[in-house]
């Protein structure tokens, strides 16, 4: 199930859905089955959100065009300007 979330939902969308689930569950008018399903879905989405936050690696790179007009990416170092 978590795999299905992958790529389909942006972090923002996931967070919005999580909020909606929490509010719905807090209202307390769901049946027992619905409550448990909502809880499971909520936990799943919260995990997905956490995962999204740590997905990307910290990287500073600089794009440099070579003589052929091709752009190459290399790590940005102090020598490049800092």
């Amino acid at each position: 199930m978590e795999e299905k979330l992958e790529g389909k939902m942006s972090f923002e969308e996931a967070l919005k859905e999580l909020e909606a689930i929490v509010e719905n569950l807090e209202k307390g008018d769901l049946t027992l089955d619905e409550s448990i399903n909502a809880f499971q879905r909520g936990i799943e989405i919260s995990r997905y959100c956490s995962k999204k936050l740590d997905e990307v690696e910290r990287k500073i790179s600089i794009l440099i065009e070579n003589e052929n007009g091709e752009i190459q990416e290399k790590e940005f170092t102090d020598a490049d300007g800092l």
Binding site: S10, F11, E12, L15, L18, E19, I21, V22, L25, E26, G28, L30, L32, S35, I36, F39, G42, I43, S46, C49, S50, K52, L53, D54, E55, V56, E57, R58, K59, I60, S61, I62, L63, I64, E65, I71, E73, F76, D80, G81, L82
Partner: protein, 401 residues
């Protein structure tokens, strides 16, 4: 014979005289443009006038191309140039080398003109503004690779969200060719499609220094960008054409860095809060259901299921008792009534009367009881009944009274 000159040599002579004049060879003239013609050759022809006078003017292509703004009729300008003669027509005219709007600077005028033109074309329309991604994976930064701007952006994004990928596209941000470099960088980032958002940034500076961001090619490259563009040029009070065209204007480069990435710590705690609320809500929900169940299971229906039956049976018993009582009392009432009636019956019985010595007389023939003398006549055979039997008699005579 006096010396006779050709028209050409006269005009040549005048031209030479004028060229030698120090004032005419370099002067500043102010006036209002009229009869403006931008010839297809690239030269501009117009008349400069004030209240009393006019002078013909020409500006050649090489100088025209340096103009930031577009001259137009009615515009008040200051022209630097020289006055010379156009020999063919024998007309003197002002050859403009430089021109700038009188009052406002030429850059300012150019800025206003381009802004108006692009606005009318719809480049600033809010319907074209793309949303800025909430959590970009990679951020393209088009700016100088040296200086405070890129350092600020790297530091601030890093502080807010430690694991974000920043791709710097180094460009000149002022001077000759800067605008083209900026526009090319935006286009290349689009064709590479390697970032989720682009920041176009430059630190503060004069209008001239920020000029590249007021150039049309930069505006067009921003407008055409499929990737959302945040402009962050100069200080909070500086507005550039790039700012109007961008999907979002950040007041400063640092502000752009704040806008482009959310604070990771805040997001983490938001998720944590959500998770806690989920758990609390579920526990509460389960408790509530349990309480409902317990309440139901404690209700008298489940506790004493036969209660109702007993109650009904008791009612039935009582009714039964009432019924019996009622029937009994009816019977005894009827019984006493019966004995009363038999008593009455006894009292009225003719047998009782007969036993006291009375008799009943009937006509033998008809069996009719004789109550009065009129019912009988002499000679009739009558039957006398007394208490223990009967006998027959002949009526001898009948007396009344």
């Amino acid at each position: 014979m006096e010396n006779v000159l050709t028209v050409t040599s006269v005009n040549k002579y005048i031209k030479r005289i004028m060229a030698e004049d120090l004032i005419l060879s370099d002067l500043l003239v102010k006036g209002e443009i009229s009869n403006y013609k931008y010839h297809y050759s690239g030269h501009m022809y117009f008349t400069l006038k004030d209240e009393n006078s006019t002078i013909k003017c020409v500006m050649f292509k090489s100088q025209c191309s340096l103009l930031k703004f577009a001259p137009e009729n009615g515009m008040k300008v200051i022209i630097r140039g020289y006055v010379s003669v156009f020999e063919r027509d024998g007309q003197y005219q002002l050859y403009a080398q430089e021109m700038q709007p009188d009052g406002l600077g030429s850059l300012y005028t150019a800025f206003e003109q381009l802004k108006e033109r692009l606005r009318q074309e719809g480049l600033f329309d809010s319907k074209y503004k793309k949303p800025i991604p909430f959590l970009p994976r990679a951020i393209g930064v088009v700016t100088s690779s040296t200086g405070a701007v890129i350092r600020d952006i790297i530091n601030i994004t890093g502080r807010r969200f430690n694991n974000v990928h920043i791709k710097i596209f180094p460009v000149a941000v002022q001077g000759e060719g800067a605008a083209k470099q900026i526009a090319d960088a935006i286009r290349k980032l689009n064709s590479l499609a390697c970032v989720d958002v682009i920041i176009v940034a430059r630190g503060g500076g004069s209008l001239e220094e920020l000029w590249a961001f007021n150039e049309e090619i930069v505006a067009r490259s921003i407008f055409e960008s499929k990737i959302p563009v945040i402009s962050a040029v100069g200080h909070e009070t500086d507005f550039t054409i790039a700012d109007f065209t961008a999907d979002l204007r950040a007041p400063t480069p640092s502000a752009a860095a704040e806008i482009v990435v959310p604070e990771k710590a805040v997001l983490k705690s938001t998720i944590e809060v959500m998770r806690k609320r989920l758990k609390t809500a579920l526990v509460k929900c389960l408790d509530q259901k349990k309480a409902e169940y317990e309440k139901l299971s404690k209700s008298s229906v489940f506790r004493q299921p036969y209660n109702k039956v007993y109650q009904e049976r008791m009612k039935l018993d009582i009714l039964n008792k009432y019924m019996q009582k009622a029937v009994n009392s009816n019977i005894s009432k009827m019984r006493s009534e019966f004995s009363q009636l038999t008593g009455k019956l006894d009292a009225l019985s003719p047998l009782a009367v007969l036993s006291r010595g009375y008799g009943v007389v009937r006509v033998k023939e008809t069996g009719k009881i004789i109550r009065t003398v009129s019912g009988v006549k002499a000679g009739d055979l009558v039957e006398m009944q007394i208490s223990d039997g009967s006998f027959e008699c002949n009526v001898l005579n009948v007396k009344k009274g």
